[in-house]
């Protein structure tokens, strides 16, 4: 759907030509589904798929080492204090999100069958990059001369990268813009019991976080027995389908409008703001059957 409360402006799209598509994603199953679904829909037009690999943190580096090797590694890392501090910070964040335990298995199971089906239509192999804005990656993408750059998860995309695109750069954001921008927005919508704004947005990519003009926005079909995480995964799937719609419209040469987000509206949530207190609160709602009651209420009481 297009946003009902925002004013749209027409987009000038250059001739599509071969309409080369480059996608940049994270590495989780939902990101893999995103890239494979695009390949299923647009086939050979997809010329590049870059997976952003997060830098390692202290925990994951040390996990597989013996005690002596661990001590030696730490001592050696102390020679580069700034780098070491970064790794410690990432480890702390990782510990905070240990509450996500079990989620990778849920996600893998949720997408497993579909990914297997979609893999049969794959046309490109993913390539791992640490930073999609680095010079080598930029040179490679420049060689593709992309018409579309489609991003989902992964990183912050800087101007030099976005300027390589002839047509549009689009990002899939798992939150309802402009109200929910930033990180963990599905969780925040659930925390606020805001099911009407539990949704996903496809927007033009800008250097601001989820701040670009909106192309499409919609909500997932939830079921009463969903967990907060399966709600999130359903939301992700809708976002990817919306992305396919927008790109198809663009390639088919349909007239397109974008809906700029008002600068003063909404909120940008930061990763660190999702504390265990917030997560526990969402979980309590779900344990008490809130979702089923709320879905029923939205459907029935009018």
């Amino acid at each position: 759907m297009i946003p009902n409360e925002l004013d749209g402006c027409s987009l000038e799209i250059p001739p599509v030509g071969d309409g080369a598509i480059v996608c940049i994603t994270g590495r989780d199953p939902r990101h893999v589904r995103f890239a494979l679904r695009l390949q299923q829909q647009f086939g050979e037009r997809v010329k590049g798929w870059y997976q952003v690999v997060r830098p390692t943190n202290v925990d994951s580096e040390l996990n597989n080492l013996s005690m002596r090797a661990q001590v030696r590694r730490i001592v050696s890392q102390l020679r580069h204090p700034r780098e070491f501090a970064g790794k410690v910070k990432r480890s702390a964040q990782s510990r905070l999100t240990r509450r996500r335990k079990g989620k990778p298995a849920v996600e893998a199971a949720f997408f497993e069958a579909e990914i297997r089906r979609l893999e049969t239509a794959a046309v490109v192999e993913p390539k791992s990059v640490e930073d999609p804005n680095d010079r080598a990656t930029l040179d490679e993408i420049r060689g593709i001369e992309p018409f579309c750059l489609l991003t989902f998860g992964g990183a912050i995309y800087r101007k030099p990268l976005l300027e390589l695109v002839r047509g549009l750069s689009l990002n899939q954001h798992d939150g309802w813009c402009p109200e929910y921008r930033g990180a963990n927005t599905a969780d925040w919508a659930l925390y606020h019991r805001d099911l009407r704004r539990f949704g996903t947005t496809v927007h033009l990519t800008t250097s601001g976080m989820d701040a670009g003009p909106i192309m499409r926005r919609s909500q997932p079909c939830l079921v009463p027995w969903d967990s907060p995480y399966t709600c999130f995964l359903r939301n992700v799937v809708v976002g990817t389908e919306l992305m396919c719609e927008v790109v198809k419209d663009m390639i088919d040469g349909r007239s397109m409008k974008a809906y700029p987000q008002p600068e003063s509206a909404g909120r940008t949530f930061l990763y660190k703001q999702l504390t265990p207190t917030v997560s526990d609160s969402i979980q309590r709602d779900f344990t008490s059957g809130w979702l089923g009651r709320e879905l029923q209420r939205l459907k029935g009481h009018w």
């Binding site: 939830l222 079921v223 799937v237």
Partner: protein, 304 residues
């Protein structure tokens, strides 16, 4: 659980990952993963058959085991995008009931307009518009607009819908319906296509029975032009059993060649249906994890 031999037609509306403002207040959408679970479950309960083939077997009285088929009303785009590929894997092409005005993207379903207006708090204006038509503030619009249906009610809803949407939004909203080409491709892939009237008015109820001919014939003409053959099945919109018009049987007799399709929540037995040219379907509660419970209830009623 074993089902008695009969043709069980499972009735759905939309299968989609998306449930947006136009559909969410009405219900009837289930996600593809849940639908796939239903299909797997159905496979264990009887023989999954394409609706066309099951209709042929049923017409010739050859129902020796439980046969199950899937039927989708309103021709939503999710049926083409998600349900059809799933059913193809099980070689069980379904049936789809088409409303010509929705599929030709001419008119939005009036219930979906209400759903959308509900999402933006526009129902207060609809209520104000409906007051001269006898609606009171205490009435729930969802049921009352059906109970007191008239073309004036539809016009009152449309006026507010036009006021609160732009031309772009109205055009974009049609993406929830399959396009004419999609419907034709379903037909070419062995789906049974049925006439569901032009605009989904409650033509089986007293409030709209006078629109019966106009609505079915308009859709019939459109579908005949699209498919190069007239649809043989006419599906009643809403089909609220307790609200069926007493004139319905008289009106139906004017169309002896058509098969009329109800909900009815019962399976089809050769010789067991009230009239030979009618079919019943079992409404699946989409927000239940499986269909076994629904079918168990239907089977128990059948045994009784």
């Amino acid at each position: 659980m074993t089902l008695p031999p009969a043709w069980y037609i499972l009735a759905y509306h939309n299968v989609s990952w998306e449930d947006n403002a136009f559909t969410s207040s009405i219900g009837g959408t289930i996600p593809p993963d849940v639908f796939e679970r239903h299909v797997r479950e159905a496979q264990g309960l009887g023989q999954l058959l394409p609706a066309q083939e099951a209709a042929r077997l049923y017409a010739s009285g050859e129902v020796r085991e439980p046969m199950l088929s899937f039927w989708f009303d309103d021709a939503m785009s999710g049926v083409v995008d998600y349900a059809a590929p799933i059913l193809e894997e099980y070689q069980a092409a379904g049936a789809v009931s088409v409303c010509s005005e929705f599929t030709s993207h001419e008119d939005m379903f009036w219930r979906f307009k209400l759903s959308y207006l509900n999402s933006i708090d526009g129902l207060r204006f609809v209520r104000a518009n409906l007051r001269p038509l006898g609606f009171t503030p205490k009435m729930k619009l969802k049921g009352a607009t059906l109970d007191k249906f008239s073309l004036d009610v539809v016009a009152a809803i449309d006026e507010i819908y036009q006021r609160f949407t732009t031309a772009d939004q109205r055009a974009d909203a049609f993406r929830i319906f399959a396009a004419a080409d999609d419907v034709r491709s379903l037909h070419e892939n062995g789906w049974l296509l049925a006439n569901h009237t032009a605009r989904h008015y409650p033509v089986s109820e007293d409030s709209a029975i006078e629109l019966f001919d106009r609505e079915f014939l308009e859709c019939q003409e459109w579908m005949t032009a699209l498919l190069n053959q007239p649809p043989m099945h006419w599906v009643f919109p809403f089909d609220r059993v307790r609200h069926r018009s007493t004139e319905l049987s008289t009106v139906r007799r004017m169309y002896p060649d058509q098969t009329f399709v109800f909900v009815g929540d019962r399976p089809n037995n050769p010789g067991g249906n009230d009239e030979p040219n009618e079919l019943y379907r079992i409404k699946v509660r989409g927000k239940l994890p499986g269909i076994a419970h629904t079918l168990k209830r239907v089977a128990e009623e059948l045994r009784r």
